[in-house]
Amino acid sequence: MFISMNWIGDFVDLSGLDKNALIHQFSLSTAEVENEIFYKGSDVSGVVAAEIKSVEPHPDSRKLHLLKVDAGGPELVDVVCGAPNVRVGMKTAFAQVGARLGDITIAPRPLAGYMSNGMCCSEKEIGISDDHSGIMDITDDIPNGTDLKSVYGIDDIIFEVDNKSLTNRPDLWGHYGIAREFATLAGRPLKPIETLDLAPYDGLPKIDMKILDPLCQRYSALQVENITTAVSPVNMRIRLYYCGMRAINFLADLTNYLMLEMGQPMHAFDSRKVSKIRIRRFDQPFTFQTLDGVERHIDENTLMICNNTTPVAIAGIMGGLDSEIVADTTTLTLESATFDPVSIRKSTVRLSHRTDASMRYEKSLDPEMTVVAIGRFMKLLMDTDPGAKVTSSLTDEYAFHYPPVELSFDKAFVDRYTGIQIPNSTIVKTLAALGFGVENKGDDFTVKVPSWRATKDVTVKADIIEEITRIYGYDNFDVHTAVSPLYPVRPAPEKTVEDEIKDLLVKRFSLHELHSYVWAYYDEYKRLGLEVEPNVELANASNPNIKTLRRSIIPTQLCQVKLNTGFAPAFGVFEIGRVVKGLDKDNLCIEEKKLAVTLFSKLESLESLYFKLRDMAAVLVADVRHKSLSYEKLEATHSYQHPKNLNAILCDGEVLGEIGVVHPSVSRKIDKKAAIVYMELDVTKLTQVADAPIVYEEPSKYPGMEVDMTFLSDKYEPIEKAIAAVNSPIIKKAVVTGTYADESGKSITVRLSFSHSERTLTREEVMEVVDRIVDTLGKEGVALKA
């Protein structure tokens, strides 16, 4: 919203003050001001009122005319002018020699053979409107030679307030409310708004009007006729233009002007079309043509203004085309109303049509303002068009009153909330300036919230704190730390585990952490032959690529691996992120936190890469929880899983996740020559695994013994089991030192380390244990290699 400092000046005397500093202060105390401030008129000078005394056609040009202009000087000035609307007796804006218009300085110059000693200007050329159809046609009685800046508000400072920072302040949607803030910040009085007293018309008949729906809070109306002015006064048009609105005609401009001034949207109906105002909703949907010519779909929730049963306007949003003021309108019915803000907002969303009016209504406008606005409208109307005649008494139905808000607090409350000392007198002065009724006895305060702040904005004591502190100025705060009791802080275990995992994977295994999106990437999945598995979907997805939530990070990670095949011949990536595994019985998402790791290598065999990843998992769990892992074969159920090399990862009997080779159909689409393996672990489950304590065992002081045995076996598992089965306290360690394959089959060499804490072991007792292991394995069909 654009704000004119001239307009503000109507309501508070800011003379002698630094306007820029005030605007800056406003931004820090009230609402955000956009950076660019416009100094209107600063690039225009030397433009005066002048009368065209004669018009001669140019002998060589059909467009140009030779004028003699009275610019207030002793002699008429010769000017060559190309405007189509020149006429004798016309008063216009005249840029004298030496005048400045933007970058141009006016100098005498020949134009098609004749000297032109100045320039007649369009409104656009002097920056007060978009109109460039002809030179400015001044109807005001201004002596020739008068600098236009002395009669019109061409010089102005315009700033833009970010609308988003006004969502909670219905009172700031017009200049008067903004002026109140400036008055408070400047410590100067706010002038009352001048209105026309409507009491003299009380004897006139009322307008036939009824609110039939609780969504209308208040409806005020007045009938006026004999309005003869068609074009708005120049100053009104300049303000509208500077504030981003186009001048249309006097009545339309006046309603807009009033909205920009008081924040109260108004509407003028042609009284011929609206004689029986009814405010209601309809049971059946229908279409309705608004004054912008658009057919709009109206449903049963949309509040309408009707002429009896014929809709004439969408309440609070836009008037209808049929009831609009037209050229031959003689009598108009003025509407000034408030409606339920939520209803307006919903209708706006449904109609996808946001207007200057609806934008204000949805902020919860103050119903107290409707009648004031009519009084103000009439004052401005009569000032310009004194012949206008009021033909009804003020018709006003006030169906819904916001409850008055009164808040009590004491100084201790303010001190506690602010952490600083603000004197009672400052509190009283600030609140009073903002229009609050303040009673102060000792350290106790009772505050009556003004109606324009009481529609939703100020409801609790904390709101009062804001009023006091924002005007006090946050830059003026004494800043200090909190005084609170100290207790130990226990880190959330899941966060700790997450940090440990990241450090380990980055620092020990040189993996790269990536982030991806939580939904399936349709296009990229398709390219890799990955299936988008059915899962919870976004209800308001606008794009199929942002629609279905992922069930696993792996597919999105594989897409990222595909993206990076040229990065290095071998690399690994990981992400700790979240997935959704469908809905639970209460229809809520089953959300899981996962660690996903993918390794890519053109340098290693699939097998060695798989073991590298397996070892990573083992180190990770050993590090984080001092536990070991076991693995179980899994059936492939997802498009990326390998039918053979796919295992569940278990710890303490609980499945933590899975590890697998990427299915060749997917893998080859990523890179034909690369080995790709992945794992996914449930971080929450890993966190819940009980941390195994460290049990210290003093190393034996006596020499130990090592025995190597090579067994003919495909797998280590039976060997490991047999070693565990003999349950001998002197076995300290079993290490696989090699696996071989030759004509006799696969074999595994294991080195057992023996020792005793109190003595040197004999060869006999060691061999006794070895024999038992060999025996046990023999029964399983696993023999020692000869």
């Binding site: 931004s27 820090l28 009230t30 955000e32 950076n35 920072s165 969502t167 949805e362 506690r416 909330y417 602010t418 952490g419 600083i420 609790v460 904390a462 709101d463 704190i465 804001e466 502190t469 924002r470 946050y474 705060f477 800043v479 730390t481 909190a482 005084v483 609170s484 009791p485 207790y487 802080v489 226990r490 880190p491 959330a492 899941e494 966060k495 994977l505 980055v506 620092k507 295994f509 790269h512 952490e513 990536l514 982030h515 991806s516 999106y517 939580v518 976004l538 209800a539 606008s542 990222q560 993206l563 990065f567 290095a568 690399f571 979240r578 959704v580 809905l583 809520l588 998402c589 936190k593």
Partner: protein
């Protein structure tokens, strides 16, 4: 001197000169000083000598023994020195100007800035909480004093799910749960609530270099009996100064967020121009960084905390924004894009 000893001494010296390695030297030691060695053999011939001669010869043999042993030990040292020299010469001079093979992993830049922020708050006794990404309307809006059709919902276009839940549009969605988790300790033991909760957030908007539908925030709250606006400014300024490792100027402006009252927009002096004004700060000298405020009494009440007795502040820091500022990342999409060429550069905690 016994002529045998003289001859042996001469022979020994001649042989010793030829010895070039430790093994030959050891063999030579055995040949002379061993049980069957030449020196020992001289003693064996002492049987037919007189006692005086025997004593005389014995003494000379012992002297010879000592001399031989010394000479061998000396030669051994020489050989060892020679061997070391050979070893040293066998090795070339290594060229350390060759580039190192670092093979370093990398953290996501969000992880790095998140940890920096966490560490600052941890050092001031805040706990770090983790929260889910799919939340209810109550968590994300109702419990934060944002009823349905409140204009504030306009500010964030939320991703709703088909079951009525939603992807959290702000980390504030965890506030209610945090209050409920710690209210007992607050009320019964007087332990202030001091928590931060970083997390991924989602907004339904078109992406470009400056807009993302998936980004990270970090929320922080502190609740106790006398928490004030003054404290809020202190903690914000301290945290940001620690994160950016320099004295940061902050300024507060009124900002409207339904879950705080008063609510603020916190600006910091532009890090690029230092406040002079530059394109990064749109020539204002300030950067809008972090919405914050005093927790709205209704929000505390819904969290089970009596707002008449307790006050608190809350803030929301855009971690994504912070990471971009800190590392000069111009395109926000790089953060979720997954390109290792970009992401591999964030190798350590800094």
């Amino acid at each position: 001197m016994n002529h045998e000893i003289a001859a042996l001494t001469e022979k020994f010296e001649a042989e010793l000169k030829k010895i070039e390695n430790a093994l030959d030297l050891e063999n030579m030691r055995v040949a002379y000083l061993g049980k069957k060695g030449s020196v020992t053999a001289i003693l064996k011939s002492m049987g037919n000598l007189s006692a005086d001669e025997r004593r005389q010869l014995g003494q000379e043999v012992n002297e010879l023994k000592d001399r031989v042993a010394d000479r061998i030990a000396a030669r051994k040292e020489e050989l060892q020195a020679l061997e070391l020299k050979r070893q040293i010469e066998a090795v070339g001079e290594f060229d350390l100007s060759l580039p190192p093979d670092l093979d370093r992993g990398s953290y996501h830049p969000i992880t790095l800035v998140q940890r920096q922020c966490e560490n600052v708050f941890k050092s001031m006794g805040f706990t770090v909480e983790d929260y889910k990404e799919v939340v209810s309307d109550y968590e994300c809006f109702e419990s934060l004093n944002i009823p349905k059709f409140h204009p504030a919902r306009d500010m964030q276009d939320t991703y709703y799910l088909e079951n009525g839940q939603l992807l959290k549009s702000q980390t504030s969605a965890a506030q209610n749960a945090i209050y409920r988790k710690y209210r007992k300790a607050l009320v019964e033991d007087g332990t202030p609530i001091k928590a931060i909760f970083p997390g991924r957030c989602f907004r339904n908007e078109a992406t470009d270099a400056c807009h993302e539908n998936t980004f990270f925030q970090m929320e922080g709250v502190m609740v106790d009996k006398n928490i004030s606006i003054s404290n809020l400014i202190f903690f914000m300024k301290t945290m940001l100064s620690e994160v950016f490792q320099r004295d940061i100027k902050v300024r507060l402006r009124p900002g409207f967020f339904p879950f705080v009252e008063p609510g603020f927009e916190l600006d910091i002096n532009c890090l690029i121009c230092g406040g002079e004004g530059c394109p990064s700060c749109k020539h204002s000298g300030w950067l809008e960084l972090c919405p914050c405020g005093m927790i709205h009494p209704e929000v505390l009440r819904m969290g089970g905390i009596d707002p008449e007795e307790y006050t608190g502040f809350a803030f929301g820091l855009g971690l994504t924004r912070l990471a971009m500022m800190k590392y000069g990342i111009a395109d926000i999409r790089d953060l979720n894009g997954g390109s290792l060429a970009s992401m591999c550069q964030f190798t350590g905690d800094q």
